[in-house]
Symmetry: C2
Subunit: 891 residues, 2 copies
Amino acid sequence: MARKKRVYFFGPKGAEGNAGMKNLLGGKGANLAEMCNLKINVPAGFTITTQTCVDYFQSSSRWPTGLENEISKNMSRLEKEMGKKFGDPVNPLLLSVRSGARASMPGMMDTILNLGLNDISIKGLIEKSGNEWFAWDSYRRFIAMFADVVLGLDRRLFENAITDVKKRTSVVADTDLELASLVDLVEIFKKIVKSNTGKPFPQKPEKQLELSINAVFSSWYNKRATQYRKMYGIPESWGTAVNVQAMVFGNMGKDSGTGVAFTRDPATGEPRFFGEFLFNAQGEDVVAGIRTPLSIDQIGGKLPDAKKDLDRIYKKLEKHYRDMLDIEFTIENKKLYMLQARVGKRTAEAAIRIAVDMVKEKLITKNEAINRVYPEQLDQLLHDTIDPKGDVDVLTQGLPASPGAGVGKVVFTAEEAIEKAANGEKLILVRQETSPEDIGGMNAAQGILTATGGMTSHAAVVARGMGKCCVAGAEQIKISDKNSLFIVGSTAVHSGDWITLDGSTGRVILGKAQLVKPKLSRHFNILMGWADKTRKLKVRTNADTPQDAKIAREFGAEGIGLCRTEHMFFEGDRIVAVREMILAETAKQRQKALDKLLPMQKKDFIGIFKAMEGLPVTIRLLDPPLHEFLPKTEVDYAILAKDLGVSVVDLKERASKLHEFNPMLGHRGCRLGMTFPEIYNMQTRAIMEAVCELVKKKVDVRPEIMIPLVSHAEELSKARRNVIAVADAVMKRTGVKVKYSIGAMIELPRAAITADRIALEADFFSFGTNDLTQTTFGLSRDDAGRFLPHYVESGIFPSDPFVTIDREGVGEIIRIGIHKGRSVKPGLKIGICGEHGGEPGSVEFCYQSGFDYVSCSPYRIPIARLAAAQATINGASGPTSGKSVKNKTRK
Amino acid sequence: MARKKRVYFFGPKGAEGNAGMKNLLGGKGANLAEMCNLKINVPAGFTITTQTCVDYFQSSSRWPTGLENEISKNMSRLEKEMGKKFGDPVNPLLLSVRSGARASMPGMMDTILNLGLNDISIKGLIEKSGNEWFAWDSYRRFIAMFADVVLGLDRRLFENAITDVKKRTSVVADTDLELASLVDLVEIFKKIVKSNTGKPFPQKPEKQLELSINAVFSSWYNKRATQYRKMYGIPESWGTAVNVQAMVFGNMGKDSGTGVAFTRDPATGEPRFFGEFLFNAQGEDVVAGIRTPLSIDQIGGKLPDAKKDLDRIYKKLEKHYRDMLDIEFTIENKKLYMLQARVGKRTAEAAIRIAVDMVKEKLITKNEAINRVYPEQLDQLLHDTIDPKGDVDVLTQGLPASPGAGVGKVVFTAEEAIEKAANGEKLILVRQETSPEDIGGMNAAQGILTATGGMTSHAAVVARGMGKCCVAGAEQIKISDKNSLFIVGSTAVHSGDWITLDGSTGRVILGKAQLVKPKLSRHFNILMGWADKTRKLKVRTNADTPQDAKIAREFGAEGIGLCRTEHMFFEGDRIVAVREMILAETAKQRQKALDKLLPMQKKDFIGIFKAMEGLPVTIRLLDPPLHEFLPKTEVDYAILAKDLGVSVVDLKERASKLHEFNPMLGHRGCRLGMTFPEIYNMQTRAIMEAVCELVKKKVDVRPEIMIPLVSHAEELSKARRNVIAVADAVMKRTGVKVKYSIGAMIELPRAAITADRIALEADFFSFGTNDLTQTTFGLSRDDAGRFLPHYVESGIFPSDPFVTIDREGVGEIIRIGIHKGRSVKPGLKIGICGEHGGEPGSVEFCYQSGFDYVSCSPYRIPIARLAAAQATINGASGPTSGKSVKNKTRK
């Protein structure tokens, strides 16, 4: 086998690499090569491959054989190309050494500039630049940078030395330092290096280069890089490339300068060249923000030729890359050099506009435009946000559990929230953690703040469903219900005080912050239109109220995939009737309570069916264990006892019998329907009476009744017979004949494994992936807080399976379920409900696995629509491996 | 298609059916035919097929076409054969009509005798028998029986009439009734029928027969039959056959009689003809126990020829059937008629002896002998039982949770049990329900009684593991801890009162009942020896102490399949150290507590390894959630607080943080090992130090370390690395090199589904089917009490999946796990631990699925050994369908 080529040369006359070689050359190296191939003026240099970095670590931090030789050859070529010599006392070649991984890791890797300076070559630099101050300034910068990045010395040693000199010479700014001071500093810096490392500052340029290359390699494992990789799921195995490039100087005087720019506005997507420039400066100066930069247009006044060149080049590059770019450049003595060109980061708004505009400009296809927007980003557009221009007083930080922002007065109980909201007050509900009883209060509030609970806690899940902002698990908050206040450190926040929540970042802010309304642009609608035409998966919503159903429809929902009937149980006086039902001791008592609930449920269903006219509505019969509805307070018990005509003691005795050790695995779902068929019968009757009433009024209603927590075909069979019996009776009584279907929620491993038997009794399957994940992993979402974060952080799990579907395990069980189900009923309709239905990676999984639809909370519908379109476009490449990179780069 | 033959004739000259036609003719019909084919003297008759019964119900209780004709033809043949005519005034043929299903359903179906009697044929009966009293007695019996069974009248109407007549004539016994009274009674009975049905008693013999046949059909659905079928898992679809047979009369005088007998002793299995006989009596009289029967040998004195015939026939039958038989016969005027021959029911002791003896007698093969004993029966032999001869005072009834019997004084706390047992007292521990903390007390007691909890509650599972008797869920018991007593109805039982538990039946008995010791016979050992040579599956035990290990080894255990390290945590003072570990706030505190535990665990392991020398011992690292070990009482908290030097309030605060909503799915198993690696490290060190110490002393130790609750290969990989690191360190320190293996407990669906990845990190798999059943079904064993009994009773589940493995769902997941595991590691050792390992049906499943071994509690090892042998023998017939008949008939 031929020896691996480890070093790739590039220069204005062309390059050995190109933009397609990112894996080998890293993003920066590949783009530099590409620009060279486009004959754009780039300072020449060479790229050491990422593979070399990998090999370096595999051979215990030693250079692989041949690398030294290749570098040496490329250095010679570079010297020739630039007409300069490394370490030369007359015309020295100076270098920058930069990292460059496959994926952009901004600020993660360290850079060395001005490499090659020493006590000899400084003379050449003075000679060539004719600027002694600049040369000494460069030298002292280089020593400090080298000492910090390569030798690992504390940066402050050098900063303090500068401060001392400035004090001594009464100078304030670095730029005002006298030449003599700079010369002094070089000597002082060399001494610092000597005394702290025991060795003199390396004067040999080759040694400087060798150490710097190794430092770049090593930076792949520094703390920032490691964390960044973890955050964005970048594999450790990739390694980084090293770019060695001839220096050009923007700080050579008035005809020089440096700038960064975007080829379009990265905030709005407007098609205008947009950037900043500093005369007589080096790259860092722009980013560091020490001097106020000029707008990019201002170059033209002083350096019209360079500006003309720049305009020509950015357009050429954008056309070539067919995307908005982020570029860096330097002008040295009027001559423009391009230093960087890469696809630019952008807001959701900009991503959409640029994608749509580029289709119009015929730069990209509609499919490419759809793929250009990361679905998760859309979330930014759908909620109120805190005005980034305003000042805010951040009290503490919790988990960003449900995006958006909310401003309101603090309340501590759901009742108070409901009562005060009725008077038009804006409120933030603050709870230790929420329970199903709080739903009314959550709905009435602008946002929810909890002290405990994670991203998948009750508060978080319900809030996301409502599109309401939520900060969960703000652990520093100590709530005192007794005193109606909460404390963070030494700050007390009382009931009635204003606070602001930022559900997108987790910030809890004192007082009323300024909010910005979301606006869905014309471009958004165009893009979503294309997505809808492209996608094959239907997108439904999880909605429990007519109000949610309406919002969801506005966001493009094509039906309801999950309507949780129990959420209706907490409204108003219903809970009393619900509790009567639960604590009934005889079937007769239970029926009496159910009779009270029937008209209320019927009314709810009428509202929901109307809101979803013409679209399918899947209603899940009662699912949670009954004890979730039990009275919580003494007052509740007293009311109920009076209502039922029994003593509080008796009532509590009955309630205590409902206690369960593992409610998740307890007496719930269709198990309730088996032991108390009268409950499901009431719900079926309410649904069918609502349907028949509307059909009589010519409303197009498409009900689907879903049986939860099926584990055995026989359960479904029995539930189905009961539903049909009740439905037949209602239709007979009303004289209306309607179509409806009966399906199973597949949320237990056994249901999926025996799906061929269950499918015989089912008109459709809906995978409840929340519970399926819990049972497949044997993992309670509510209890996972003590170890799941550790699991994800330390890489035991590649990601949180409650956020992104676990394709390897849960996914395999789903595939078995689909395969077995359709083996006996080829056209079986299959959907997903639960949180995963709105997560782009999981949507892709659903498409690949043959689902008919996904269902998600209203505010995630656009995300699911876009993700579904992308899945269709990318589906041709076949099912993916099961591992996915989080926040993956747009293609 | 030829019309189905519905009626099969049999008679002493031969029969149309045979013993192989049980499905069609029912057990009784097939055996009658078989005897006829053997030319044994059986009263002639015919059998209407079971299929006819099925067809009868399918055509709305009407006779299928052709049946009438076939019956009529067979009646003619029967009249010819017997030389009598149905309803004849001179020589009438009388019939018995009996049910006879495929499986024996004793007492379930009603019988009609003397059918064909009416006001005319009575004359013939008088004529032929020369016994007027007998004839009228037969007639009045027939009317009453017919009225009861066929017409559905209350039996007491007739009994009262007899009582009246007896009073009037001053007679005490039925046998002393005067002839005139019998004649009167016939008239009175006919009037009762007329006035209660509106129709006269049917005089036409053909009508009597038709109605009787229909009554037999209908009895298939009577309450007793339905319940029996449910109890023994007999399908409703089978139907019953009807046997119509010529009557013979044992009550014809001194030369007549009737008897029942077993060809060998059904209690002990001794090879002696064993039965009872009554002169001048009909079959019912023997069973009814009105007169004291004679021993079978006493026939010989008066009726030597008949006795000689009987001896010849029973031997012939036993030889023919190659099994111990239960026979019925009648002698009519010195002539012997056989009425029934079927395989006889027997005790476990008898089953074993008969099987072994018959092999010696060359009647059956060893394989047949193995198949002759129902494994579950062996349980009878392994525990103390209550002397069936003694009188007992049953207080209440609970669930028969763990077999055997126990006598002791009532105690209400584990502490008290331990304390008093130390003084040699015998105790019964009575608890509302038990928790892991009670284990010491359970071990100290003779038996455990709980008020709540089912067959799979903590008390039941642990007691079975200990081989200790347990009555669980005795719901009538109200415990008052405060007053140290429990109440059932109006009876109070105080601490210190004697009670007796019958764990095999669930009886709770006041006072000290007489117990009988178990004895394992020579025959038992012979049979088990054959079983051991036959079986392919290894049988290991679940044992947590050296003592259990020893018992298990005596019962034939071939290693330990599951040693639960946490059971050791409750002994003595250890719990204090365990609690210190749990509530430690720093790793240092935790390490300190672990250091205290290390020597204790090491000592346990030494004991267990010694007891299992030469055999493999699988040790599971810590599994339960930590809060199971938390202090329960204020005193516990006070002790611990002092120990840790913190306040009780602080301690409770820490403890409360460990609360879990669904502990089953919480922070347990290897999740503990991931977040607190120091715990597993301590356990590994204790194991390996014990191993090394013993190896130095030349003890043959074969440790297998098992990681519980694995859901992802990465967990096992990490745990494995840690175990290896600790083991290497111990081996290095001690200078001993030992072999050990590391495996995974497969008890979560995800582990089975991803077994191909997990197997790469595992030396063995052990399926934890308890938890796997819980997660696959999404069903908490502890909470299932409110609906699982209903599920099993109403047939939603074919059986309790915690008792018999659910082959369709859980079984399929296991098969996937085995297939995937062995796809990457063909020789992967696979076992099962958990309750199913000792259940015969599940053992069969394990054999068929390719397991290497099962593991069960010590007292179930013989059961598993026998079941494993049967599985091997019957395995050739391939995997079964997944549904199994409970208590299935021996083959």
